[in-house]
Each structure stands twice: as structure tokens, then as C-alpha cells.
């Protein structure tokens, strides 16, 4: 299948258009069917993927605006492969977990299918404009999902989400245009091909400004510490499915952007900014973990803990070595799966009780044993207990980061402790002790629909926690190739020294 990436992108979009015709009552079944096909297609991508090859695979190329160098250019490597699979999986499970009585189910399914198109598109695009196109387009269905199915102040939250990210990415767009221009100056041709940009030599001054421009787009999406304020609003108001996809996939676009654009195109600036990024990331990790501890709302705890873990991912990205970067790519996957599952779990209890405030619960373990177990597993994965998926990534990131800064590692590592404090506090308050509210006595445990959505995630958490090799190997390959490329490409000797992997190691 030479065009599998195009199929992966446009199949859900086409299905979304055709979905307008499908009857309301069959909409959910239609959504599940389409998302399953999409998921199987993405698995097929994995089957056909050559684990040894560290470069781009399944590449597709056809010019769109040739004289301006914009082309339809796709490809997938070890870094993006698993994020694509995760995106299709989370969409599938998210659709399964939708309640049958969701209002306007058809619109929801169509929005989710369009969202799926943009998510896949962002991660497989190799042309900066195509990347930007899907990046911006992903805002629209999300705006609708938050705004139409969200809580009381949903419109405010949705518009804030849209404008915040839109403003940041427009500055990123200026950076992309400047990149293309600099390439044009050097080589006399216009191109937005990211792989061509990797070869471009830029002065440290140019890199400095371009890094800041890219930073504006990516950091808001991640969201990095001072720019994170849109996220708690969005999570607070979004419906369960919105939070699941936002946390699991959309935030990864930011970190992926750093890995795909900032590091390899601007190696010197990336190294130059490393201390800055690290300080921001450590503040983000520690500060949001503390904020999470202070929350009364269960969903806000998960939301802030999710931001905190994104900080760990950022640390890994800027560790500039194979362990840190590989670990952070793996952590993107595990964060997607774990935070997606946790948001689904909060959604379950919210559907039953109509509240997310922890003090309203208590003793749920006795009433809903299966729910408590699944929640427990995900919670352990979230705090990074060994033998869960969360441990692998977090350990690798801290290991990689240790080579860069010992004190930073100690501070960042301490968040595992803070993390377990607030997560266990949440677990204790909600699940143990006596049942404080009589109405909670009659709560039903997980039903078949919810189990179908959650058990695959539990299985993945355990499987990849014990045996991460099949996923880690391709990631590691591509990450090493990226670092080697960075090292070769760097202008300054200090940069070359900072990038710890050497060529020999890669070979």
C-alpha cells in the first residue's frame, strides 16, 4: 500500500462527510465501524513498518503550489508511527465510551471523525504548510465539541482555547515563512519540506529568533508553564470525550512539534535555550503538581497532573540524548493512554452522580469494585509505578536528564513523590473509607460499554509496562538518527558537545 498515509488521513474525513447521510440512531455504530477500520489501517501501517530503517517511510509527494514550494508531502518514522496509532486507538475507544443518549450524536461523531483526520495529518505531514494546515484545522472540531457539549461556561472555554492556540500558531507561521525564505536565499528554490530544512545552515542569530517563533506555537499547545492557563478551563468545561482527546492527542502536537521542528532544524538554538526550557519545564512539573494537590474537583486534579507530566516530556526532549528524547517520545504515548483513560474514568463517575467534587464521594471501592480497580491501575501508571507503562518513559527521561543536570533530576524526580501524594489522596478520598453519601450506595459498577473502552487501555498499560521493546526499538532508532543529524548539522562546537550521543553509539 503505497498511499496508506493518505488513506489514513482522508478515510475518516470522507466518512465524516458521508456521515451526514447516516441516520441519527445509527450514528454511533457508524462511528465505531469507521474508527475501527481506521485503527486497523494504522496497525497495518505498523505491520508494514521497517523497524530497522530510521528514516521516513511510506513517503508520498506531490506538489501543490510548486512555485511557492508547497507540496503534499507525507511520511512516518519511529517517532510519529506510534503517536498515529495511539490517536486512532483513542478515537475508537472514545467513540465506544460515548453514552447512547448523548444529544446530537450524529454531529458528535462527524466532529470526531474530522478531528481524527487532522490528528493523523499533523503527525504524518512532512511539509510545514501541510503540518500547519492540519494543526489549525484541528482547532475547529474541538471548538465545536467543547462549545456544544461542554459545561456551563463552555463557550468561553472553547473560544479561549481556540484564540490562545490560534494566536500562538500564527507567530509560528511567520517563523515557517521565514524558514522558507532563508532556504530560498541559500538555495534559490522555495520549499516547505521539513527534511530539506534539516540540511539548511543557519546562523545562531537566525536560529535564536526562529526558535522563539516556533516556541510561541508549540509551547502554547503543550502547554508550557506560563501559557497553560487555557487548559484547565478547556478541561473543566469539555465533555469527557473532549478532554480525552485533548489530553491524549492534541497536547502531543506541541511536544511533537518541538521534536520534529525545533530540535533538528535549529540545533544550536535548541542547545542555547536548553537551560531556559529546563527551568520552565521544572517549574511546570513542580508548580502544576502542587496546584493539582489543591484541587477539589477530580477532573481538575487529572487535568493539572496531565500538565505536570507534559513537563516531564519537555525535560526529556531537551535532554539532548537518546535516553531522554526516546523516553519522552515513549512518555507521549503512555501519557496519552493513561490520561485518556483517567478522563474517561472521571467521566464515568460524573455520568452517574452528576458531580466531580471529591468530597461528594468516599467508599466507592466497596460499591464499584471493578471501577476502583481500573482506576487504581491507571493511577499507578500515572505516578509511574514500575511494571506500568508510566514507569518506562519517566525512568528513561530522568535517566537522560541526569546526564544533563543532577539537581534538576532530583527536583523533577521529586514530582513522582508529589504525584503519588495527590493521586493517592484523590484515591483515598474517593474510594476508601465509609460511604459518606447514601445516594452513592446504589451506584452501578462499570457496564459493558465502559469496560470495552477501558480494558484495552489497561491491557496496554500492563503490556508496555512489562515489555516495551517492540515500541521502544523503532523510537530509539529514529531518535538516534535525529540526534546524529542534529550533531552533524550544528554550527557550534559547544552544541556538538551538548548533544551527547555520538555517531559510533548510533551505529
Amino acid at each position: 500500500m503505497t498511499h496508506i498515509l493518505s488513506i489514513l488521513i482522508f478515510f475518516p474525513a470522507l466518512a465524516g462527510v458521508l456521515g451526514f447521510v447516516v441516520d441519527k440512531r445509527s450514528a454511533k455504530a457508524y462511528g465505531i465501524a469507521v474508527a475501527s477500520v481506521e485503527f486497523v489501517l494504522s496497525l497495518w501501517l505498523w505491520v508494514g513498518f521497517d523497524n530497522v530503517n530510521a528514516g521516513m517511510q511510506f513517503t508520498e509527494f506531490s506538489p501543490i503550489i510548486s512555485q511557492f514550494g508547497i507540496s503534499y508531502n507525507l511520511g512516518v518514522d519511529g517517532i510519529s508511527l506510534f503517536i498515529v496509532i495511539m490517536a486512532t486507538l483513542i478515537t475508537l475507544l472514545g467513540i465506544i465510551s460515548l453514552r447512547d443518549d448523548t444529544p446530537n450524536m450524529k454531529n458528535m461523531i462527524i466532529s470526531l471523525l474530522f478531528l481524527e483526520m487532522t490528528m493523523v495529518g499533523v503527525f504524518v505531514a512532512l511539509d510545514a504548510i501541510i503540518f500547519y494546515l492540519f494543526w489549525e484545522l484541528s482547532l475547529v472540531p474541538m471548538l465545536y465539541i467543547i462549545g456544544a457539549w461542554g459545561g456551563p461556561t463552555r463557550v468561553y472555554a472553547a473560544v479561549k482555547f481556540f484564540l490562545y492556540t490560534f494566536a500562538g500558531s500564527l507567530i509560528m507561521l511567520v517563523g515557517l515563512l521565514a524558514m522558507a525564505y532563508l532556504y530560498h536565499l541559500d538555495n534559490g528554490v522555495w520549499t516547505f519540506n521539513i527534511l530539506d530544512w534539516y540540511q539548511l545552515h543557519l546562523t545562531t542569530d537566525q536560529q535564536f529568533w526562529l526558535f522563539l517563533a516556533f516556541f510561541a506555537g508549540f509551547a502554547i499547545k503543550v502547554p508550557m508553564f506560563p501559557f497553560h492557563t487555557w487548559l484547565p478551563h478547556a478541561h473543566g468545561q469539555a465533555p469527557t470525550i473532549g478532554s480525552v482527546i485533548l489530553a491524549a492527542v492534541l497536547l502531543k502536537m506541541g511536544t511533537y512539534g518541538f521534536v520534529r521542528f525545533s530540535l533538528p532544524i535549529l540545533p544550536d538554538a535548541s542547545v542555547y535555550f536548553t537551560p531556559f526550557m529546563m527551568v520552565l519545564s521544572i517549574i511546570m512539573v513542580v508548580f502544576t503538581a502542587m496546584v493539582a494537590f489543591a484541587q477539589k474537583d477530580m477532573k481538575q486534579v487529572i487535568a493539572y497532573s496531565s500538565v505536570s507530566h507534559m513537563g516531564v516530556i519537555m525535560l526529556g526532549v531537551f535532554a539532548m540524548n537518546a535516553e531522554g528524547l526516546g523516553g519522552s517520545v515513549f512518555l507521549m504515548l503512555s501519557h496519552g493512554i493513561v490520561s485518556g483513560a483517567l478522563f474517561m474514568l472521571v467521566g464515568v463517575i460524573y455520568e452517574r452522580t452528576g458531580t466531580k467534587i471529591m468530597s461528594e464521594f468516599g467508599g466507592l471501592a466497596a460499591v464499584m469494585p471493578v471501577y476502583a480497580t481500573v482506576f487504581g491501575v491507571m493511577l499507578m501508571a500515572s505516578v509511574g509505578l514500575p511494571l506500568t507503562i508510566g514507569f518506562v518513559g519517566e525512568f528513561l527521561v530522568l535517566l537522560g536528564f541526569y546526564k544533563v543536570s543532577v539537581i534538576g533530576t532530583i527536583i523533577a524526580g521529586s514530582t513522582i513523590i508529589i504525584g503519588s501524594v495527590y493521586m493517592l489522596a484523590l484515591f483515598k478520598k474517593s474510594f476508601f473509607g465509609p460511604v459518606t453519601h447514601k445516594k452513592n450506595l446504589s451506584l452501578k459498577d462499570l457496564d459493558g460499554r465502559e469496560l470495552t473502552a477501558l480494558l484495552p487501555l489497561v491491557a496496554i498499560v500492563v503490556w508496555l509496562g512489562i515489555y516495551p521493546k517492540p515500541v521502544l526499538d523503532p523510537i530509539d532508532n529514529s531518535v538516534k538518527a535525529l540526534l546524529v543529524q542534529m550533531e552533524e548539522h550544528a554550527e557550534l562546537q559547544t552544541t556538538k558537545d551538548a548533544i551527547i550521543i555520538s555517531k559510533k553509539e548510533a551505529e
Binding site: 510548486s66 512555485q67 471548538l143 507561521l173 515563512l177 521565514a178 530560498h184
Partner: protein
């Protein structure tokens, strides 16, 4: 000093190149024919005039496409790539506009054949304006077009249309005054009214004492004149009122075609000054453009009426494009046409959606015809209409892959190329601000509950097959832009290069 304005000439008919004049003659002749038709037989239906006008415009378009690059008609007509490109855009815009007269409800102005005659005269005026480098002919074209346009606005026949028309007229008169004074200064300096001769004369006299001051004075007066026409800050105040008073399709037309014509003349005049390296001109235009896009954006944020919001948004888009005039490169000049070519369909589509929902009586609001509340919950009442309007809004906001996005990045890229990174950033931030008010309408349509007043009969009030056809075309062009931008851009760049305007 110089040659007198009119010296006796002796030119054979063949050297007149009468073909260069044909397009305008066709439009004027068509307009006269409509008037004659009305004299001979009363009470002909508007559909006849609409179709006849489209046919005239088609013939006109055909003759434009057949033009060769040359000077003609006593050398006052200049047919270069720019002129042909501009005429084609003007004619296409006009052909999109005219079918909007065929609404299901009867609106006063379209029952007069004079409307269509005036419309054709106006088109001829714009055609003169863009295909000349003689300041007098530009002026004549500008005034022919403007006077017809004032009347067209007033024909909507409501109190605020008269107000709009008079307001536009007085502003237009003021701008004509500035244009005349500016041209007089240039004539005094150079003894010529042809821009290419003015350029040569100014070049040789630039070092003389005091001349630079005069040049700057003349340039500023011309800039003021065009700032009125292009609704640049601080001469933009007429625009929202005039748009509100005019009928929706005419407002949409005014936001595109007259502005494009004025942009073409601005390109010819101001890029001459910039090419002469006259300090200050470029900076002043850049300042105007930045201030225009920012102020208009901020004003648009607080509007309660969608039509007024779209009016301010059009001002902001004009400011955006004016920056390209200041950059004065081939790429920037091409981006003007790319931008307006794409913007034309999207913006006219958005105004058509307002036209579809236009009710004869003011039923929604005591003051406004199109308050935001009118569109509340539209997704529940007319889902396709809501989606179409949302597409237009997203396109105007510059969300890829919709059409205006390509124009936007091309202008931004042109400003990056010229070393104006800050300008590109300002444009980016302005797009982000503008996203808010476009989103506001989307929020109303998709995320709010319909009010009691909003029913299918009211929002679909004015719909008809021709309107739907135009809407369909606009949607098609807006959504499918990715597939035709490449050839379009190539043609535009080639023609701009041919006309020799702008640095490489």
C-alpha cells in the same frame, strides 16, 4: 517648462488601437441598450436585465482576454498585464454580483432598468481606471464609477441608504478634490500627466532645492485621496455606515471591486514614488496599513451587527493588502491579486448569506438588520446554511486550507522576504484578533439556542435558485482553493512581471 497639455496630434486610425477601448465601449453600449430597451417596452422583468447584463459582461470579458499588450487611444490607455488582470477580476466580481438581484422577494431597486445601466457604466469606469497611466483618465474613470455607485446605493430606497449615499458622495467629493490637487502638484513639477513621464521628470529634478518637499506634498494628497477610496484609517469612518445602508450584495461588491480598482491605481502611483526612492512614502503607507488593520479589527470586536462587523473586517483586509503596496515587490503585487481574487468569492459569499436572510421589515432589532441574535442556533434551523456561513468565516479568519489563507500567507511571506519580519508578526497577531469576531458568529450559529424570533421562514426569507448558485460557487472556490492556487498564482505572477511594476 514641459509640453502643453494638449498639443495638436495627427494620428491615423490604425495607430489609435481602438481595440484597447473596446471593453469599455461594450459595457457603455450595453448600458445604453438597456435604457433603450426600457424606452421601447415598459415593465420588462428584472430577470431579463440581469441575464442581459451578464451577457454584456461576458462579451466584455471576452474582449479583455483578447487584448494585446500595447498603448492605445492617443497613448492614454495602457494595456499591460496589470490592466488585463484587474479588468478580468473586476468583470468576474461583477458577474458574481449581478445574479444576486434575482431574489425571491421583490426588492425595489432591481425593478428599475436604470440600476443595470448604471451598473454597467460603473464597470466601464473601473475598467478605465485600471487601464491607464494618465492621471486625467484615471480621474474620469474614478468619478464615472463613483457617481454611478452612489446612485446604486441610494436606489435601495430606505432612509439609511440615502444617508449612506450622501455620506459616500461627500467623502468621495473630498477625495476627488485631493486627487485633483495631488495631480496638479505632479503636473506642475513634471509638466506631464502620464505616470511614466512624470517618473522620468521627477527623477531628473529630485536634487533641486524644495522639489522633494513638493513631491512629498503631492504624494500625500494622492495618498489621502486613495485612503478615502480604500477606507484606510483615519479616512475609513464612512465605510460601516455606507455598507449598512447599501443592500448586502452591493456592500459585498463594494468591499471588493472598487477597492481592487483603487489598489491597482495605488500600485501604479505609489510604487512609482517608492521606485524613485523618495523617503517617507513607503513608511507612511506601512504605518497607515498597520494602523488600519489594527483599529478596524478592534472596532469589529465590539459590533453588534454582523453586517457592520463584516464592514470593519473588510477595512481590516484592505489594510492588510495595503501593506503589499508599500512592499512594492513583484511577489507583493501578485499577492494583492491573489488575495483579492480569493477574498472576493468568500466575502461576497458571506454577504450573500446576509442577503438570503434579509427581511423586508426590521423584525429582529430596532436598529440593525442583521444582529448576531438573528443567527442564534442556526445549525438547528438551517444546518447547511450555518455550515456554509461558518466556512466563509473560517476562511476570512485565515484558517487553512480555506481560500483566504493562501492570500494571507503569500502577503506575509512577501513581507518576510522584504525583511519586514515585524510586519509579518503584526499581520499574524491581527489575524488572531480577527478570529475572535468571526468566531463570535460561529458561536452564535452553532453553540447558542435559537431565539423565538428565529424561524426557518425568517432566515430563509429571501432565498432563490440564483442566490444558491452563487453561494455554491463561492463555497466551491473557498473550499477547493488548494487545487487551483498554483496555476492562478503562476498566471498572476507572469502578468505582474510583464507590467514591470514592482522590484524583483
Amino acid at each position: 517648462m514641459g509640453t502643453p497639455l494638449l498639443e495638436p496630434v495627427n494620428i491615423g486610425f490604425a495607430e489609435l488601437h481602438i481595440a484597447t477601448l473596446m471593453p469599455m465601449l461594450i459595457a457603455i453600449g450595453g448600458g445604453l441598450l438597456i435604457l433603450v430597451l426600457d424606452l421601447m417596452k415598459d415593465k420588462l422583468d428584472k430577470s431579463l436585465y440581469v441575464m442581459f447584463t451578464i451577457l454584456i459582461l461576458l462579451v466584455d470579458l471576452g474582449s479583455v482576454l483578447g487584448l494585446e499588450y500595447q498603448n492605445g487611444f492617443f497613448d492614454v490607455l495602457l494595456i499591460d498585464g496589470l490592466a488585463i488582470l484587474a479588468q478580468v477580476t473586476i468583470l468576474v466580481g461583477s458577474m458574481l454580483f449581478i445574479p444576486l438581484a434575482l431574489t425571491s422577494k421583490r426588492f425595489h431597486e432591481y425593478s428599475y432598468p436604470e440600476f443595470f445601466a448604471l451598473f454597467l457604466f460603473m464597470v466601464a469606469g473601473f475598467q478605465f481606471m485600471v487601464s491607464s497611466d494618465n492621471l486625467i483618465l484615471i480621474f474620469v474613470g474614478l468619478e464615472t464609477a463613483s457617481l454611478s455607485l452612489y446612485t446604486l446605493i441610494a436606489l435601495h430606497n430606505r432612509a439609511n441608504s440615502f444617508e449612506a449615499s450622501v455620506k459616500y458622495f461627500t467623502m468621495g467629493a473630498l477625495s476627488a478634490g485631493f486627487f485633483a490637487m495631488g495631480s496638479a502638484v505632479l503636473y506642475g513639477l513634471s509638466g506631464s500627466l502620464e505616470l511614466n513621464q512624470i517618473s522620468v521628470a521627477l527623477q531628473s529634478r529630485m536634487d533641486e532645492a524644495g522639489v522633494m518637499f513638493l513631491i512629498l506634498g503631492g504624494a500625500s494628497m494622492l495618498l489621502v485621496a486613495f485612503a478615502f477610496k480604500l477606507s484606510l484609517f483615519p479616512f475609513h469612518t464612512w465605510a460601516p455606515d455606507v455598507y449598512e445602508g447599501a443592500s448586502s450584495p452591493l456592500a459585498g461588491f463594494m468591499s471588493v471591486v472598487p477597492k481592487l480598482a483603487a489598489f491597482v491605481v495605488s500600485m501604479r502611483i505609489f510604487e512609482m514614488f517608492i521606485a524613485l526612492n523618495i523617503d517617507g512614502v513607503q513608511e507612511i503607507i506601512l504605518c497607515l496599513s498597520v494602523v488600519t488593520m489594527t483599529i478596524a479589527n478592534i472596532m469589529a470586536l465590539v459590533q453588534e451587527d454582523v453586517k457592520r462587523m463584516l464592514a470593519y473586517s473588510s477595512i481590516s483586509h484592505a489594510g492588510f493588502v495595503m501593506a503589499a503596496v508599500a512592499l512594492a515587490t513583484v511577489k507583493a503585487n501578485s499577492s494583492i491579486f491573489l488575495y483579492y481574487g480569493l477574498f472576493m468569492f468568500t466575502n461576497l459569499g458571506a454577504f450573500t448569506m446576509l442577503w438570503v436572510s434579509r427581511h423586508k421589515d426590521t423584525v429582529h432589532h430596532t436598529r440593525f438588520d442583521h444582529p448576531y441574535e438573528k443567527f442564534a442556533g442556526m445549525i438547528k434551523i438551517m444546518p447547511v446554511g450555518a455550515v456554509v456561513m461558518a466556512l466563509f468565516m473560517l476562511s476570512l479568519a485565515g484558517v487553512p486550507p480555506f481560500s483566504v489563507f493562501w492570500g494571507k500567507i503569500y502577503i506575509m511571506s512577501a513581507s518576510v522576504d522584504s525583511g519586514y519580519l515585524w510586519l509579518a508578526v503584526v499581520m499574524g497577531l491581527n489575524s488572531a484578533i480577527s478570529a475572535y469576531y468571526y468566531l463570535k458568529l460561529i458561536v452564535y450559529m452553532f453553540l447558542k439556542e435559537p431565539t423565538d424570533m428565529v424561524t426557518k421562514e425568517i432566515t430563509y426569507y429571501n432565498v432563490s435558485k440564483p442566490l444558491l448558485t452563487i453561494l455554491g460557487l463561492a463555497v466551491f472556490v473557498t473550499v477547493g482553493s488548494m487545487f487551483y492556487v498554483d496555476p492562478l498564482l503562476e498566471t498572476i505572477t507572469e502578468m505582474i512581471k510583464q507590467s514591470g511594476i514592482g522590484f524583483n
